[in-house]
């Protein structure tokens, strides 16, 4: 037994200056000693008691978390369903409620050659241009129908 080593480790142990490895070394040295002075015997007893406490096990059965998680997810689903019902109710109520007379300026949107236009003047001008074209085409069509009618009546005569 290296008593010098034991004494150094023991002194440092009491001052809490030892590393975990040194503490294990001290425990081994004291445990294997056949006879010890009272000072060291007290420390050995203390170390053995602490070691036996470390052997105590928790016989606690850790509850599996799944039931808890399931209940949480069910609660979540229920809350989501409730939210959907509330949102649907509000939407339905808004749709069924007659619109107030307070009319806001309608937003005019039209597509000109595939481009969306929301400028009222441009839209109006485009509509006028199109209507003008339609009117012109109708006028032309009317003339052609009149011609066909005239030719047909001449042939019958």
């Amino acid at each position: 037994m290296d008593w010098e080593r034991v004494k150094i480790l023991h002194d440092r142990y009491l001052k809490a200056e030892t590393s975990l490895d040194e503490e294990r070394e001290l425990y081994t040295l004291l445990s294997t000693a056949e006879s010890l002075p009272r000072e060291l015997q007290a420390t050995k007893t203390m170390l053995e008691a602490l070691h036996s406490i470390a052997q105590d096990r928790c016989d606690l059965t850790i509850r599996h978390q799944e039931p808890r998680r399931r209940s949480i997810s069910l609660r979540r689903i229920a809350s989501i369903a409730a939210s959907v019902v509330v949102v649907a109710g509000i939407t339905l109520a808004m749709l069924l409620t007659p619109i107030e007379s307070e009319v806001t300026e309608p937003m005019i949107v039209c597509h000109i050659n595939g481009t969306m236009v929301d400028d009222q003047l441009i839209a109006q001008a485009e509509v006028q241009r199109i209507l003008g074209g339609v009117s012109k085409n109708m006028h032309t069509a009317k003339e052609r129908i009149d011609n066909i009618t005239r030719i047909t009546s001449n042939k019958q005569l």
């Binding site: 142990y13 009491l14 809490a16 053995e48 406490i53 096990r57 850790i62």
Partner: protein
Amino acid sequence: MVTETEYISFVTRLKDTVFRLARSILTDSHLAEDVTQDVFARVWLQRESILHSQHPRAYTCRIAHNLAIDKLRHRERERSLTLEPRGAEHSDGDADTSTTDMAALTKRFISALPDKQRIAIHLRDVEGYEIEEIAQILETDEASVRVNISRARKRIKEQLLNALNYGLGES
């Protein structure tokens, strides 16, 4: 993403440590079991941050320490209201209370230590934590931890020497 298997493995590794730490603070196995359950319920809720932290073990022990201290305070409040005498908590389920048994005697000396010393020596000498980790768990500095451990060891050794001198251990 922490899987259920990782969580269960973590709990299995640490449940005894958490239980013993809680019991060292509360000196009551039933309350310590309650605290252990609460600790791991919290770990589950914060599993991403705890299990991926730098020191998941120290983090969990800090939760255990704080919950056990809360429970201890709660019990003290209840006791003060019901006028229950202090010391009743030391009548834990441990069967080895014979004063002739030196190991049992040492356990009693440990349980009679001031809270800070008892927790510090428990974390070091029972659980084998590094001083740095104990400082993290107790949210203090390493010097204070060393002082508490040193005082606890010297105190227990002194009491054991007295017991040996009076022949209590020589059965």
